[in-house]
């Protein structure tokens, strides 16, 4: 093995490690804002992904996630909350509210219709 091969091999292994960390490593969460009506509300911008993509809410209180899709990429034209049986169309430029009350604690993934763009809803026990 010459120097170039060693460099490429080492670099490749490091790159694979980076890819795994980049996609599956730990992420920071955003807490939901409380409205006057006691609803936990977060606005989620949809462009290439969800911003924020990790949202913290409290169990047993109504949640309103207002999705605002600002891109035309068809991948994100639907958002799916499989655990709560919700699938909503997100027309470009419109604000679409997804409303439900999480009745159980845990981490629930929400995603586009193909499950390539993902976010997580972290429900803390009340």
């Amino acid at each position: 093995m010459d120097t170039a091969q060693l460099a490429v091999t080492g670099g490749g292994v490091a790159l694979i490690g980076f890819i795994l960390w980049f996609f599956f490593g730990p992420r920071a969460a955003t807490a939901a804002r409380q409205t006057e009506g006691g609803v936990q509300e977060v606005e989620v911008v949809v462009q290439g992904g969800y911003t924020p993509d990790r949202i913290e809410v409290t169990q047993g209180r109504p949640v309103r996630l207002v999705f605002h899709r600002t891109e035309s990429n068809p991948c994100t034209e639907q958002v799916v909350f499989g655990d709560f049986g919700i699938a909503k169309s997100l027309p470009e430029g419109e604000r679409v509210a997804v409303e439900f009350t999480p009745d159980r604690a845990g981490t629930f993934v929400f995603h586009c219709s193909m499950n390539m763009v993902r976010g997580a809803l972290v429900v803390r026990p009340a």
Binding site: F23, G48, D53, A87, P91, G93
Partner: protein, 768 residues
């Protein structure tokens, strides 16, 4: 379209006319934002729409339109209750604009890519062209042509990949961007500082630099971008066709109605029709709203909503559905449902929700998609490393690079993602066209696995409208018998009473006044008519009053599957009326179809065994569950399920709601006027049993398509990625070029969508 978003705020989404720049949008937004009662206004130049949140107490969409007009533009106030249509229109326009943008990019990319491809590959294909194409500065010409292809036509891949990367996510764009950028960057370095690669260029048989000192791969990057843009174009066209059925439904909405206002008939927009309005429908016109015929008579073509091929005759008192087409007669109707409550709008909503739902079979594909792109990235890196180590030094860099790019480009997560939703969309859309409303992916999947179909008798197998089929007088004339019975029954609400009254009316008999009336639950009734005591009821009623009757005649009608009403006048037996609920003309053929599909068919009824078995014999059903009380039906369905059967329960959706809910699949036979039946997984807009067979056929066909699509998508990726990585090279010397990889990838998702579209042409027999 306006929706109430909270207690005090409403929202309207209005198309704005006359905008020609983003500054116009800003100006309109400013004007709307300052209007009284407006809490939020957003104007989107791309979609040409204004979205305004406002206080309905202080302003209205029409006022908002005036504000837009004041700013020098115009806006269209969408009619109330056309929510579904409105959103769909906006989406449609946005998609069309997007399609046109992509088409322009593809055309420009293709025009620039052809010369790059000829220069880059021409010498390989036709060796005599080699010297001609190896002109000095050739690499620079390729660079000049390929740059706009990548960074103008293909710019969306990079912005998309970057936007995803910022969220630590990845999609198709990531793969295309990294693949093309790698080939391009390598080529640029080889063009600018060829010395770096002199070793590898000296004997590089794979490269094709010619007079350029080292091989460059501009054509790889340019062709990939062009082909993938072409794939997107084809896919967008095919995908827009998957929603064709729902658009056709929305397009059925009538625009105007001829309404009587202050005694004068005036044409008004359909959104202004109110419940209770009297509407005139002339020959050839669409029925504007749901209603009840007031006067006049005509045949109405309901095929677009119910799938029934023959026009249905409508007389006063009959209900008509908005969006169906009047044929030759003319009639007036009283509006009963308008706006979002009409059958058409309910169907549109139901189908839209169904098309957005997921089938459980998709779960595996979803799980795979979630890890797909990162896994492909890792595999591509691994491919690079392996080939770099295994190939001789002079060609290792190009070899590693080309296989790396091929792996990235051939991988197609889109085929996996599109496999199920497109089939669900086309399948449910096809159903809606035939009057079969399937609530979503999950019911589709269960309906495809059915083993047993349980049919409720009344209203499902039979018409549900009992009629007097036989009159046997004893001591009275037939007319007198019927006249007195009808008079007595006139006070009753029992369904059998309606049959007796209808029989009297059809013979032109006028029933006399009843002066006293008493219902005897489980037996019948006692009434006083023209001073005579009339008993109408079953054998128990007459026996309890010590009236002797012709038991043989009663036995005969019961054996024929009829319900027998015995009549006694002033304590003497006066005759009997046989009432039967006729079997629907389509039931027998439909049961045959269900049997031919390998399904077990069970008749479930609260009627006595004799009646039930007669009906079962008539239509060819071999299993009968009779004498089941209404609340016992769900338990019977559960028993069948506990025996390991996958059960569909077919009923009217109201009385049978618990049984429908207890089954794996509840199929509700609609009456044509109320389609939003909550307990049902499948609703037949207008019920006959052939629709049950068709809905199961459609579900099976859809599931077959989904399985084909998933198999194709998995097989494509599982086979394509290793081939692209060069696993066949040591065995066969065969290596997939990145250009072929991009062609395969572009075609794979198109194939999946095209396969789903075949469902739209499925023949669904109705009304035979």
């Amino acid at each position: 379209m306006s929706t109430t978003t909270a207690e005090t705020s409403s929202r309207v989404d209005m198309p704005v006319v006359g905008m020609h720049c983003a500054a116009c949008a800003v100006r309109i937004e400013g004007a709307l934002g300052q209007a009284p009662g407006v809490s939020k206004a957003a104007v989107n130049f791309a979609t040409g729409r204004a979205t305004v949140e406002y206080d309905p107490a202080s302003t209205a969409p029409a006022d908002l339109r005036d504000v837009v007009r004041g700013a020098g533009y115009d806006a269209v106030v969408p009619p109330d209750g056309h929510h579904a249509g409105g959103v769909s229109d906006a989406e449609e326009r946005a998609r069309e604009a997007e399609y046109k943008r992509t088409r322009l990019k593809f055309v420009v990319a293709a025009v620039l890519t052809v010369p790059v491809a000829v220069i880059g590959m021409g010498g390989h294909i036709i060796p005599s062209l080699g010297p001609l194409l190896n002109f000095p500065g050739r690499a620079w010409v390729e660079l000049a042509l390929a740059t706009p292809v990548l960074f103008w036509a293909g710019w969306e891949f990079f912005t998309g990949a970057w936007a995803a990367a910022r969220h630590r996510a990845a999609d198709m764009n990531t793969l295309v961007a990294i693949g093309t950028l790698s080939a391009f960057a390598y080529s640029v370095v080889a063009t600018l500082v060829p010395d770096w690669f002199t070793v590898s260029a000296s004997s590089d048989h794979a490269g094709h630099g010619g007079s350029a000192p080292v091989g460059v791969y501009y054509e790889v990057a340019a062709v990939i971008v062009t082909l993938i843009l072409l794939g997107r174009l084809l896919e967008a066209r095919a995908r827009s066709r998957t929603g064709g059925a729902i658009r056709a439904l929305i397009g059925l909405s009538p625009k105007t109605a001829r309404v009587e206002r202050d005694g004068v008939e005036v044409d008004v927009p359909v959104s202004e029709v109110r419940v209770g309005d009297v509407v005139r429908v002339r020959p050839g016109e669409k029925v504007p709203v749901d209603g009840t015929v007031l006067d006049g008579k005509s045949a109405v073509d309901e095929s677009m909503l119910t799938g029934e091929p023959l026009p249905v005759t409508k007389a006063p008192g009959d209900s008509v559905i908005g969006a169906t087409v009047n044929t030759t007669g003319s009639f007036r109707l009283t509006a009963t449902k308008v706006g979002a409550d009409t059958v058409l709008q309910q169907i549109v909503r139901l189908v839209q929700e169904a098309q957005g739902s997921k089938a459980p079979i998709q779960k595996l594909a979803d799980t795979v998609s979630g890890y797909f792109v990162p896994a492909v990235l890792c595999l591509a890196v691994l491919t690079f490393v392996v080939w770099f180590n295994l190939t001789p030094p002079e060609s290792r860099l190009t070899f590693a690079l080309l296989t790396f790019v091929s792996v990235l480009i051939i991988a197609c997560p889109c085929a996996l993602g599109l496999a199920t939703p497109t089939a669900v969309m086309v399948g449910t859309g096809r159903g809606a066209q035939a009057g079969i409303l399937i609530k979503g992916g999950e019911p589709l999947e269960s309906a495809g696995r059915l083993t047993t179909v349980v049919l409720d008798k009344t209203g499902t197998v039979t018409e549900g409208k009992p009629a007097v089929t036989e009159i046997v007088p004893a001591g009275l004339s037939e007319a007198d018998l019927l006249r007195l019975a009808a008079a007595a029954e006139g006070q009753s609400e029992h369904p059998l009473a309606r049959a007796v009254i209808a029989a009297a009316q059809s013979r032109g008999l006028v029933a006399p006044q009843t002066t006293a009336f008493e219902a005897v639950p489980g037996h019948g009734l006692v009434a006083t008519v023209e001073g005579r005591q009339v008993l109408v009821g079953n054998a128990r009623l007459l026996t309890s009053r010590n009236v002797a009757f012709d038991a043989a005649a009663v036995g005969r009608t019961a054996a024929a599957g009829r319900t027998t009403l015995l009549v006694a006048v002033d304590g003497a037996f006066a005759g009997l009326l046989a009432v039967a609920d006729p079997v629907k003309p389509t039931s027998k053929a439909a049961v045959e179809r269900l049997h031919a599909m390998g399904l077990e068919v069970v008749l479930l009824t609260g009627d006595n065994r004799g009646t039930a078995e007669t009906v079962a014999r008539e239509v060819g059903i071999d299993q009968v569950l009779a004498d089941v009380l209404p609340d016992g039906k769900a338990a019977e369905v559960k028993k069948l399920r506990d025996a390991g059967k996958v059960v569909a329960m077919v009923g009217d959706g109201i009385n049978d709601a618990p049984a429908l809910a207890a089954a794996d699949i509840g199929i509700a036979m609609g009456t044509g006027t109320d389609v939003a039946i909550e307990a049902a997984d499948i609703t037949l807009v207008k019920g006959d049993l052939s629709g049950v067979a068709s809905s199961i056929e459609l579900s099976r066909a859809t599931m077959r398509t989904i399985r084909q699509n998933l198999f194709f998508a998995f097989a494509y990726n599982v086979l394509g990625i290793p081939v692209a990585a060069g696993v066949l090279y040591p065995l066969t010397g065969w290596l997939l070029s990145p250009i072929l990889a991009s062609a395969a990838m572009a075609l794979s998702s198109v194939s999946v969508v095209t396969n789903a579209l075949r469902l739209g042409r499925l023949e669904l027999r109705r009304g035979n």
